[in-house]
């Protein structure tokens, strides 16, 4: 299967995250890059933009900007040329999916089909064949498994933002080792500790961010929230928000509640949980 990895306004984080895929040598036997930002390929960037090279999947990485060129060719031309001939288009990362961190409030910058939450139709003809894999950076396993799904012609169910439900239907909260503190509404988290849940005070967006970070661990070993680092919501169209290390509350009640949980349900549960003091959750684990 022939892949074209096209970098636009990108930091290359997705490329380096991809290089962390554990079985990358096997992957490279099953797929060929006609162009890649770091790996050797038979074609140069100049070849790609000037010629018509056979390709099965177009991978777009980075924010799109009006008038941006690669090897002196407008990216619109490149995307249209390859978008037409490929079976599938994958937007690799939050920037290509939703605009991401480089939007800078400029209307001339956007993701392939979405600008944050708003859908646009600049490349409407390609919506049917697009799969958005958001994340900043992407998780290598999610990208690779999606590519294998395409190769094996497995049908991937997509959510409203064109992300594979297999990976994006769950929340980051799912599988976090600090869940017990969340369950019992213990809001005593302090940085630098094994204990505590960052949702109440320190900005963790895990309970309402879609992804699999605590299910498929990062680098096969860990995740942000497990070490005490709040989830920054990087798979969502709204990434990045502001004041990321703080939880916005309105008179003590978190502004953003866990995905799909109605306010009254959350508050009732919170009220019940707060009636009890469970000793174990107020003592140091390793103490």
């Amino acid at each position: 299967m022939k892949l074209l990895w096209l970098n636009l306004l990108s930091c290359n984080g997705n490329v380096h995250s991809f290089l962390n895929y554990p079985n990358i040598e096997n992957f490279l036997k099953d797929f060929t890059f006609i162009y890649h930002p770091t790996l050797d390929t038979s074609y140069s960037l100049k070849d790609i933009v000037s010629k018509d090279i056979d390709c099965d999947v177009l991978l777009i990485d980075g924010t799109l900007e009006d008038g941006h060129t690669k090897a002196d060719v407008d990216i619109k031309e490149i995307i249209n040329k390859y978008g037409q001939k490929v079976k599938k288009i994958i937007t690799v990362g939050t920037c290509a999916s939703f605009g991401g961190i480089f939007l800078n409030d400029e209307s001339t910058k956007y993701g392939l089909h979405f600008r944050q939450k708003v859908e646009h139709d600049r490349y409407e003809q390609f919506k049917e064949k697009t799969i958005n894999i958001s994340g900043c950076p992407i998780h290598p396993e999610i990208l690779v498994n999606t590519l294998y799904s395409i190769k094996k012609e497995y049908h991937l169910k997509l959510d409203l933002y064109l992300r594979p439900k297999e990976f994006f239907a769950t929340t980051i909260h799912n599988g976090c080792t600090r869940n017990e503190y969340f369950e019992y509404k213990i809001d005593n988290h302090k940085f630098g500790n094994l204990e505590g849940c960052m949702f109440y005070d320190h900005g963790c967006q895990g309970p309402y961010t879609n992804g699999s970070c605590n299910k498929i661990l990062w680098n096969e070993v860990n995740s942000k929230t497990r070490v005490g680092h709040p989830c920054m919501g990087c798979t969502e169209p709204t990434f990045p928000k502001e004041n990321l290390f703080e939880t916005k509350t309105n008179m003590g009640i978190p502004q953003y509640l866990p995905l799909g949980v109605p306010k009254r349900a959350y508050l009732s549960l919170a009220g019940v949980a707060k009636a009890f003091t469970i000793e174990r959750f107020h003592t140091k684990i390793n103490g």
Binding site: N250, M251, Q255, G271, A275
Partner: protein, 195 residues
Amino acid sequence: MKTKKELKKEIIIQAALELFSKKGFYTTTIPDIAQSLKMSVGNMYNYFKSKDILAKEIIKHISHYLGEQLKSINEKEISTEEKTKQIVAVYFETANLKPEMIDYFLRVFLSNREVFKEGCEGMICVNDFVTEIMIYFEDGVKNGELRDQDFFSAFGLFMGYLGGMVFLKGENILPNNLDSYIDDISNNIYKALKV
């Protein structure tokens, strides 16, 4: 639709509330309540297994009653200032129409904590009511009408004030009917909490 059993429970609760109000909580017994309803004591225990359980059910009942009223106010598309007034009005209206309810809350629930210490820890049994107050506060802050502050400071101000007024009424110290104080009191509360 409430079941026959639920309706019967409500009748019992109402009778209990009236007796507690007249005779006092500790002096009123289950047989007293049964007799006032012309029920057998055995039948009574089918609905409430003990006086303690009845006591807890009553407070949940009151919380639910007030909670439902507050929920319909919260769901209205009106300003927080107007909501404040309507909440105060509902509270005082309940104090007028069902004085035994507020009476129970102040004189039994708040004053006899040992009765409620198991099964009604913290604010669990008044959950319905407290949840609605939380939502009123949260919406107010979100709309930019109320100042963002610690929940308990605001809660204490609101509830302490209302409870205090009802207590004064109960002691026959207030010269006028509770209704006539609605405007001033809701104004004071709103001014204290707003941005």
